[in-house]
């Protein structure tokens, strides 16, 4: 927390299990993406701080925030009461993750998570936001839970291929991720339904309330003046701060 040119250094843990276009690495392994652009805008608004980025695995980053090694972490951190008990979340989100169910083009029986009860997902990662959504569904429906099979770092591409070949019924996946992969693989798949527009946050340790508040303030300003919307357009081709309906019409071209 020392000063460099008089500014306070803020250590930000960024996930090296990269996730374009939110956050990934360029040729020189420097971080780029929506998250980084957002943070740069925040930094401009807070002249007292200098941001420093540190790569690390997500689990490790959270432990780092927990133990005070890092000031905060950025990734798709979804909010839930359990997590809020452990970490400090700012009030306002800095973006959204659009989650969806992807099926074969000729299937119409799957639209929501309810339709997936008794059906088969490809293996799911033990950690991350998607997993958390599925787990919380199961907590709310203890009598008809989804059947989940866990696997360490499953490959999204492999999983989509499983759905394509009929070895799984539908994959629960981020829309942006699906679109990126689809561009490459062009599988016989479609987005069968948007499940949620999940707000995503930065995560702080409880001791860091002041910083969290200042950044939250900056986030609100950036949202209101449209900066973040522009960034979203830049990286995703759609302003996900609009409501779902608009996104469905204007944004991602699902039936492509």
């Amino acid at each position: 927390k020392e000063s460099d040119d008089g500014k306070k250094v803020v250590k930000i843990a960024i996930s090296d299990e990269v996730n374009p276009p939110f956050l990934y690495a360029d040729e020189n392994n420097e971080p780029i993406g929506y998250d980084i652009d957002y943070l740069k805008e925040v930094e401009k608004k807070l002249p007292d701080y200098k941001f420093e980025y540190i790569w690390g695995e997500e689990e490790s980053n959270l432990v780092g925030v927990d133990t005070g090694k890092y000031d905060f972490a950025i990734n798709w951190f979804f909010k839930n009461p359990e997590r809020q008990e452990k970490f400090l979340y700012p009030e306002h989100e800095f973006g959204y993750s659009l989650t969806s169910l992807v099926t074969k083009k000729d299937r119409d029986d799957i639209k929501t998570l309810d339709d997936m009860v008794g059906k088969k997902f490809p293996p799911v990662s033990p950690s991350g936001g998607l997993r958390a959504i599925l787990n919380s569904y199961n907590d709310q429906h203890p009598d008809d839970p989804l059947t989940l099979e866990s696997m360490d770092s499953p490959s999204n591409a492999e999983n989509l291929k499983m759905v394509d070949k009929g070895k799984a019924d539908a994959m629960f996946i981020n829309v942006t991720t699906f679109n990126e992969i689809q561009k490459e693989l062009n599988l016989n798949l479609k987005v069968a339904g948007i499940i949620s527009k999940e707000p995503i946050f930065t995560v702080y340790s409880k001791e860091n309330a002041e910083l969290a508040k200042e950044i939250d303030q900056a986030t609100v300003e950036l949202t209101e003046d449209g900066t973040l919307s522009k960034l979203a357009e830049k990286w995703f081709g759609v302003d996900f701060f609009q409501d779902l309906e608009y996104i469905n019409e204007e944004g991602f071209n699902f039936e492509k």
Binding site: V63, D66, T67, K86, F87, G128, A132, S150, M151, D152
Partner: protein, 242 residues
């Protein structure tokens, strides 16, 4: 400081859940260890006696197995076998279903092949640590080389090998967590799944570590006792004379 962060109550609550991963961990470690011992020993003997083709083959085998990540070896079976079966089905009209193969089987195979390469080196060094005079004595009383190995050399070599085998086995117990990459859910995997909901990684790592420690410790003790028993004949434990 650390302990103020850790919610012990939560950790304690989750203990039984994580314990459910113990059978998978033990199954993989024990199966791989036992088969690894047999294969490792055979490989070591082929190398020591420089059995023509096999010696060359196993040099490459050991190098390849040790040289490539275990994760990759797991993937080779996990992704490779279904492709192979599919190909077989197409060619011969059979109908094997790869999805019916339990992931545990892939883990057994990959871990056994992996550990046998390491154990081959352990046996090679320990057999070479036994003085050649012992084999000569065995042969002088009319034993075949095989009998001499089995009755005289290996019992002595095993004593030298034991601490290293202990290393390998304990390493194996922990390495089973890699099997999560092929859907085998064991101790660490369960811990991580639980941790994700509330981001309680510290607590869950603590729980997993404790379980690993206890299991490994039991084996550590067993290995130490075995070593002591087997060293009986050495009498003057080195280092005793000040």
């Amino acid at each position: 400081m650390l302990f103020s962060i850790i919610n012990l109550e939560f950790a304690l609550e989750q203990f039984p859940e994580v314990l459910k991963g113990v059978p998978a961990t033990l199954a993989i470690a024990v199966v791989a260890m036992i088969f690894g011992l047999v294969f490792g020993l055979l490989i070591a003997l082929c190398r020591i006696y420089q059995v023509p083709v096999l010696n060359r083959f196993f040099i490459v085998y050991i190098s390849f197995i040790r040289g490539t990540p275990l994760l990759v070896q797991l993937y080779v079976f996990f992704y490779g076998v279904p492709v192979l079966l599919e190909f077989l089905n197409e060619q011969t009209g059979t109908s094997f279903d790869a999805s019916e193969i339990s992931p545990l089987i892939y883990a057994f195979i990959a871990f056994t092949l992996n550990t046998s390469a390491y154990q081959a080196e352990i046996f090679r060094s320990s057999i070479n640590a036994v003085s050649a005079g012992q084999m000569e004595a065995a042969q002088s009383v009319g034993m075949t080389t095989a009998q001499g190995l089995w009755r005289i050399i290996l019992p002595q070599a095993f004593v030298v090998a034991l601490p290293n085998l202990g290393n390998t086995f304990i390493g194996l117990i922990k390495a089973t967590s890699l099997a999560f990459a092929v859907k085998v859910v064991e101790i660490l995997a369960i811990a991580r799944i639980i941790a994700n909901d509330g981001y309680r990684f510290l607590e869950m790592y603590l729980v997993a570590s404790l379980i690993y420690w206890v299991i490994s410790w039991v084996f550590e003790v067993l290995f130490a006792v075995a070593e002591k028993k087997m060293r009986r004949y050495e009498d003057r434990a080195a280092g005793e004379a000040a």
